[in-house]
């Protein structure tokens, strides 16, 4: 995950965090992406990403998100959620706060088995986690106990969570359902349930469009990318046949949401680009030096319809590029911020691309 930039920052991100899985000794690490031609801290030239610091982590790292510039929340396969703090003066990591047994199974045989925490999302200071136990937890960064817990929110595993609005969250589960939960309400029921038509393929990841909050993208176990409009109907707007295996993560580009990135077990990372348009429609709305063309169906006076929701294949053209030339093992995770992309694979390799739109 890229460390978030302070607002109004002009330079591209240069620090990212990684979490490992399936090791005897898993670690959460902070890396510097390498300066492009500038001398580093000690006057050394670091063209390649290099490790700044790391810390031991109990269990597989299932998900991570930066809470703020210094703290990162990590979800573990043991069911523990930890906040790590990155001390930049001496480049160390320390465990700031830990919620043990945030996710657990109540098993008749064992007293309390931990269940993997599969997803975490933050909106400083609130942290929401979901897990294999079907539980949703709401934490606050400074409070010891959970603010709210929805037990048995789902009868199957919750794979991912994201914020829809500041008080609403979206979860996806392993029976192909997208649920909206309103955290203001006290009842432990989702306020809306969406599901795929046809086979209930498990959904593994979810992300919301940064600007248009009704557009949601999910990735499924069969590698299918689904785009949903949660204002209308209970089924996805479009289903795009993408990968050949589980799609692990989907991310809208935070500042350029016409770009979407997905990574999958089949070893590919796809860049979905709806910003190019075949039609002669003028490109208007310039954002920060990059022109973004919105597809408009007829005249300029009509409302701007996001490219993601348009169903007409003749008018819209989406460019899809596989960013990995020689794919072998699964790409488990990716993050994109500004012009920089970072992703990690099961071949124990991390790749950084700092000129994504060049």
């Amino acid at each position: 995950r890229w460390r978030p930039l302070p607002s109004a920052a002009l330079q591209p991100p240069d620090v990212f965090a990684t979490g490992s899985w399936d090791n005897e000794d898993n670690r959460v690490s902070i890396w510097s992406a390498g300066d492009l031609g500038n001398a580093g801290l000690n006057g050394e030239y670091h063209g390649e990403p290099h490790l700044l610091c790391d810390i031991q982590h109990n269990g597989d790292v299932m998900d991570m998100q930066f809470l703020d510039q210094e703290r990162i929340v990590v979800a573990s396969s043991t069911g523990t959620v930890t906040i790590f703090r990155h001390h930049q003066n001496n480049q160390t990591l320390s465990a700031n706060h830990r919620w043990e047994k945030a996710h657990y199974h109540v098993d008749q045989d064992t007293s309390c088995g931990g269940a993997a925490c599969t997803g975490v999302v933050c909106n400083n200071p609130e942290i929401v986690t979901v897990g294999e136990d079907g539980r949703i937890n709401l934490f606050r960064a400074d409070q010891k106990d959970a603010v709210r817990t929805i037990d048995n929110a789902d009868s199957s595993t919750l794979h991912a969570v994201t914020f829809l609005r500041t008080t609403e969250i979206l979860t996806v589960n392993s029976i192909g359902q997208l649920k909206i939960w309103d955290l203001r309400q006290q009842r432990n029921e989702p306020s809306q349930i969406f599901s795929l038509a046809g086979d209930r393929v498990p959904l593994h990841c979810v992300d919301r469009h940064p600007n248009q909050q009704h557009i949601v993208a999910t990735g499924g176990q069969d590698g299918m990318l689904s785009i949903w409009d949660i204002r209308h109907g209970t089924m996805p707007v479009s289903l795009l046949n993408a990968h050949e295996a589980e799609m692990w993560e989907v991310h809208f580009h935070p500042s350029d949401p016409d770009h979407l990135f997905t990574c999958s077990e089949d070893g590919s990372l796809w860049h979905w680009d709806t910003s190019t348009s075949v039609s002669e429609k003028p490109s208007f709305l310039h954002q920060g030096g990059r022109s973004t063309a919105y597809l408009s169906h007829s005249t300029i006076n009509q409302s701007v319809v996001s490219a993601w929701l348009s169903n007409d294949p003749t008018k819209d053209r989406m460019e899809i590029t596989n960013l990995i030339p020689n794919q072998t093992l699964s790409v488990n995770s990716l993050d994109v911020l500004g012009p920089c992309l970072v992703y990690g694979t099961d071949a124990e390799a991390i790749y950084v691309n700092r000129q994504l739109f060049a």
């Binding site: 005897e24 045989d109 595993t157 209930r200 099961d346 071949a347």
Partner: protein
């Protein structure tokens, strides 16, 4: 040696696992021979686990002995991962490329492998330098030397087998090889070069000799020029020597000259050197004289510089450079053998590394692989090298007694080793894929034994099985995960696993669980699941019933009674409902029967009555039925309600509308 296991104190027993051995202390022969419980899974990470013995006076221990320690070395992870990438690239590369381009491709692959080894060496060296623990430092240093030896052997194999350098370029390649790998003299060279006046340095002539021995003429001449300028009296000698060194004919890489041309030129040059030496030109300067002798290929002169060459293969190459520069590959063996004998001179015996290199010079590929397998503790090297040689079509199908060839055998061993690692198993899968005979079987056996700690890992393993149509394994893994989910009361997860495996039996099990919950609690748990089953409802009859039953409840809740009633009846008559549930269904029909409005038609009522009779009549446990008051009351109430409904409906249906 297993630390802590003492065969003299206790009798030990063994059990072989896929990659580990379980060693267990027994009390055999003592108090009745009770065995302690071997409680851990084969993938325990520590060396020993304490377990309690049954009926034993003291506890017995179980030891997990790992065969392959190397794969756990952190710095070697890069080696395994990167080489996996290169291996896959090689398997996928086009075989249609013929001749030169294919060879160039294979040489590139070989270079890639070597650069990975070097990168690992670098990392390991860094680790050795930066660590403070002397034991660890020793370990790292050993590893560095092992890797260095591996790269040496690989490089030689690349020159002799993969590239199959012909006479001429062969010598140049061997020279490069020596220069790259004999680096004991590097520090001395650096010292002399960086000193203010190199010619005054006491090691000056050593360095010049080193350059000459390694055929680095330009560098030697450069140094000599410094000496000449410092010492004008020897200017004449220097000029002649410099001229000789400049004119020395060497094989070229391009096709600018044929071997015969080279030989002719070389012969002339050799004679010229001979003349100068015999004329006594260099008599006054012993250093220069010895250099001239070396140029003439005088073995004794070269052997004098043993310490500068450090190894017999350096001696071999120097000899060849100055006496047989057009050596053919097949002639190498003779020179190699004699070089080793001359160099070691009976003082020391050849080490394993020397034997391996000798086997390479003799073009005994199988011998090389065999020796390497014996000496190295890990199959990595031999597996990848053999695979590469196989792609060069150099290994005859040397069938081993159990039917597979050597390449496959080594790959299988290597990949099996990978599977015993908690994380590198993913690499092993690809290796098994490329073993045509036994790969699949090995994979099937190994993949079931991977511990599935999280759902995500299980999904990855499943995907591997599905891609290879290993249906048995898919079913078995899904069953394991579904059972786990069921035990943790995650019915939705369990259902999603059984859908993935298309396991109807398990779906039935889950549905029964739901229905049991309903009967106990009177309401459904996990409505979000049951309400949204979709097409997966059809996986099993029981599941369909569950979905439809829930629909009945929903219809009832929405007060759509006629539809609800019809559905209920269909559930019974179409035999979707299990017999055990019929009583519940009939009880559910009661409120419908008692409604003000008539819901069931006469037909339907007859059907219901028939169902009730079927239920009560055909019941073998009639005794139990009659004893249970609640049950009999229910039956009576049902009969009454059915009768009343029948009465009402007959009247209603008999009434003519509007009259």
């Amino acid at each position: 040696v297993v630390p802590g296991a003492d065969p003299s104190a206790r009798q030990l027993c063994f059990a072989w696992g896929p990659a580990e051995v379980l060693v267990c202390e027994t009390l055999f022969g003592r108090t009745g021979g009770s065995r302690s419980r071997a409680g851990t899974a084969p993938r325990a990470l520590t060396g020993s686990v304490a377990g309690t013995g049954e009926g034993a006076p003291s506890s017995s221990r179980v030891f997990v002995v790992r065969r392959d320690q190397d794969i756990y070395i952190q710095a070697l992870r890069k080696l395994f991962n990167e080489s996996h990438g290169i291996f896959m690239g090689l398997q996928r590369s086009e075989e249609e490329l013929a001749g030169k381009s294919r060879k160039a491709q294979l040489v590139q692959v070989s270079k890639n492998y070597r650069s990975v080894i070097r990168a690992c060496m670098e990392d390991m060296h860094q680790a050795a330098v930066s660590t403070r623990d002397p034991a660890l430092q020793g370990q790292y240093s050993t590893q560095v030397s092992i890797l260095s030896a591996m790269e040496l052997i690989w490089n030689l194999c690349e020159i002799l087998f993969v590239e199959a350098a012909a006479a001429g370029p062969l010598l140049l390649r061997l020279l490069d090889w020596v220069r790259l790998h004999v680096c004991d003299v590097d520090s001395m060279v650096r010292e002399v070069l960086s000193s203010e006046s190199p010619s005054k340095h006491k090691l000056f002539w050593n360095v010049v000799d080193v350059f000459v021995l390694q055929g680095r003429m330009d560098e030697a001449r450069h140094l000599l020029s410094k000496e000449a300028s410092a010492n004008p009296t020897s200017m004449n000698m220097y000029k002649i020597l410099d001229d000789l060194m400049k004119k020395m004919p060497v094989p070229s890489l391009g096709n600018t000259q044929t071997l015969t041309e080279l030989e002719l030129k070389w012969q002339h040059w050799h004679e010229e050197c001979q003349r100068y030496l015999q004329d006594g030109t260099f008599a006054s300067n012993p250093h220069m004289e010895s250099i001239c002798k070396i140029l003439l290929g005088d073995e004794d002169a070269i052997l004098e510089k043993k310490e500068l060459m450090t190894t017999w293969y350096h001696f071999l190459v120097t000899r060849l450079l100055y006496s047989h520069p057009t050596v053919k590959p097949l002639e190498l063996r003779f020179y190699a053998q004699s070089s080793m004998d001359l160099f070691l001179g009976g003082e020391s015996s050849p080490e394993p590394l020397d034997m391996i290199l000798m086997a390479a010079f003799e073009f005994e590929m199988h011998q090389v692989i065999k020796e390497c397998s014996i000496v190295l503790s890990n199959w990595w090297f031999v597996a990848h090298l053999t695979d590469l040689l196989d792609h060069c079509k150099l290994l005859q199908s040397h069938n081993l007694y159990f039917g597979s060839n050597m390449r496959e055998f080594l790959l299988l061993e290597y990949a099996s080793g990978l599977f015993s690692h908690h994380s590198l198993w993913q690499l092993g899968v690809d290796y098994f894929d490329h073993c045509p005979e036994y790969g699949r079987v090995y994979l099937e056996l190994h993949i079931e034994r991977i511990p599935l700690s999280t759902e995500q890992k299980a999904l990855k393993v499943l995907r591997i099985c599905e891609q290879r149509q290993m249906h048995e394994q898919v079913r078995s893994i899904c069953k394991i995960m579904a059972m786990k989910a069921l035990r943790n009361n995650r019915l939705g997860s369990a259902l999603s696993w059984s859908i993935r495996a298309k396991d109807a039996a398990f779906a039935t099990l889950i549905s029964d669980r739901f229905l049991k919950d309903y009967c106990e609690r009177g309401c459904f748990s996990d409505l979000d699941l049951i309400d949204n089953l979709g097409p997966s409802m059809l996986l099993s009859d029981r599941l369909t019933f569950l979905g439809k039953y829930r629909e009945f409840h929903r219809l009832y809740g929405e007060k759509r009674f006629p539809e609800a009633g019809r559905l209920l009846l269909t559930l019974m008559t179409a035999h979707i409902a299990p017999c055990s549930f019929w009583m519940t269904l009939l009880t559910d029909a009661l409120p419908l029967l008692e409604q003000k409005e008539v819901i069931f038609s006469a037909e339907q009522t007859y059907e219901l009555m028939r169902c009730l009779e079927d239920l009560t009549a055909g019941n073998p446990d009639k005794q139990k039925f009659q004893d249970d008051d609640v049950e009999t009351t229910k039956v009576e109430m049902l009969r009454l309600a059915l009768a009343r409904n029948l009465a009402r409906v007959i009247v209603k249906e008999g009434t003519v509308e509007g009259s």
